[in-house]
Amino acid sequence: MNVSTLRSAIRRHLRLLSIFYRSTLQTELEYRANFGFNLMQSFFWLIWAALTVRVYFNFTDTLAGWKFNEVLIVMGLFFFVNGIRQMIIEANLEHLSDYIRLGTLDFVLLKPVSSQFMISLRYIGVHNWSDPLLGIGLVIYALDQLNYAPAIGQIVLALLMLSIGLLALYSVSLLLQTLTIFTSSLDQASVIIQGVLETGRFPVTFYGRLLTGALTVVIPIAIMTTFPAQALLGRLDAGLAAISAIVSIILFIVSAWFWNFALRYYTGASA
């Protein structure tokens, strides 16, 4: 595959996404009242989360090497990642269970686009927009409180970590989603993903050596919130970050393979 076919393929997929999301946006915009309420709701939980962190810092100035505002950065990034999870992963997960239950997965498979693309990105939960936005807001606020402005290089590195982190989250979700083809019990999958991500609220170094290791190498939660925060603060451990990144990419490849494997099983079964 040469560069021009790759570029046209990307363009085609982007155009499909704009078609998908434009219609969703139009539907969601009709419910204007929801927007204000959603924002208020996100704001409440943001303050709530900040207060839960505050309790610990009533008794110390640093915790496992992190200051209060630095932990807020991790918390803000958690809101961002969790919000993206709700917008993209959860929104599509709901539909996947319908596809399987009602047999309409066949129609998805018949379309001239990658089925993984369709089941992953077809829908978007627009009403969850406030979490990612407020999350970034919290990060900016915390950086301001620290009187610290990260250098461009650090921001770029943080964005890289964040992107790979989102890729890892997507891959883990896809693996669980694929399992539902075999087990058809999807609600557990959504809650499991949510539960595992919850550990990303705090810097992983809070959890003791064993758990920190697991969250860096096995299920790379660390790269979703902790490493981007460390990148912004200029104290990212390059070695750990590299390991986490490699694990994430491997997860992505494995999840894509597993999806195709499950499809073969699915089409075989219903034939």
Binding site: W48, L51, V55, F59, T60, L63, Q188, L211
Partner: protein, 267 residues
């Protein structure tokens, strides 16, 4: 033929209710079972850093949160979400046809299907942790144990009634679940889930003493840990009984008015 249709209708309704139940079940497990352990992990990081925190050491935090996870399963409730869904989707009409109050059906579903199973599974877990770490310390005073069980019953009752009342909000509001969420947010603090209540300021501690949320975690666990004087225990039990009465009548009132609203819409 009619028998078959009826059979299918019954089975579908049961399956639907089960599916609904499942989702909240898992979510409840996440919030009431896993979340406290995450909190515990952070407290342990703190005691690692600064040692004892106002009379709470590592062993105390481990005891508090491990017992807390168990107590949460018994006293906690996700009734509000199931009831909300039933009201919003009109499923309540079916429940109302039955000769018993719908609340009983929901209670049985939740209790038999979840609480008993999970509590039974967690008890050996608690013993395991106790044996493995030697960190779990409960009171040896039999009075404390009796008071603990009484507190559990009060906690279960108030927790269930609170959840039921929040569920009835769906008779009037479409986003009652969000409102329930907000209340639960406050509850997380005032019940002692985020931190043992004695670690908060005096004002918050007083508020927590008066409000019913403490009955669902902080109160029973602190009794069993032997951290409360007899006087404090009696005080808490009396407050608990008062709340039971208030919430019982509160629920009856909300339910009656809500039902009038619900049936008025021509359900």
């Amino acid at each position: 033929m009619r028998k078959l249709t009826r059979l299918y209708t019954v089975m579908l309704r049961a399956a639907f209710l089960e599916a609904l139940e499942y989702r909240w079940q898992s979510l409840f497990w996440l919030l009431a079972g896993v979340f406290p352990l995450v909190m515990m992990a952070v407290w342990l990081a703190l005691t690692n850093e600064v040692g004892d925190v106002q009379g709470w050491g590592s062993a105390d935090f481990v005891t508090y949160y491990v017992l807390g996870t168990l107590v949460n399963q018994i006293t906690g409730s996700y009734l509000s979400y199931i009831l909300s869904a039933q009201i919003r989707q009109g499923e309540l009409s079916v429940a109302l046809l039955k000769p018993v109050h719908p609340l009983h059906g929901l209670l049985v579903l939740q209790t038999l299907g979840y609480k008993i199973v999970v509590t039974a599974a967690l008890i050996p877990f608690v013993f395991l942790v106790s044996a493995a770490t030697g960190m779990i310390r409960t009171s040896a005073d039999p009075v404390h144990w009796i008071a603990f069980f009484v507190a559990l019953v009060i906690g279960f009752t108030t927790g269930t009634l609170l959840s039921a009342i929040l569920g009835t909000l769906s008779f009037w509001f479409t986003n009652a679940n969000s409102i329930s969420g907000f209340i639960n947010g406050f509850e997380q603090f005032l019940s002692g889930n985020i931190a043992p209540l004695s670690l908060f300021s005096g004002a918050i501690q007083t508020a927590a003493l008066i409000l019913p949320f403490r009955l669902q975690l902080g109160f029973p666990v602190e009794i069993l840990m032997g951290r409360l004087s007899y006087e404090q225990i009696v005080q808490g039990l009396v407050i608990g009984l008062i709340w039971m009465i208030i919430l019982w009548f509160g629920f009856r009132w909300m339910w009656a008015r809500g039902l009038r609203q619900y049936e008025g819409v021509g359900a």
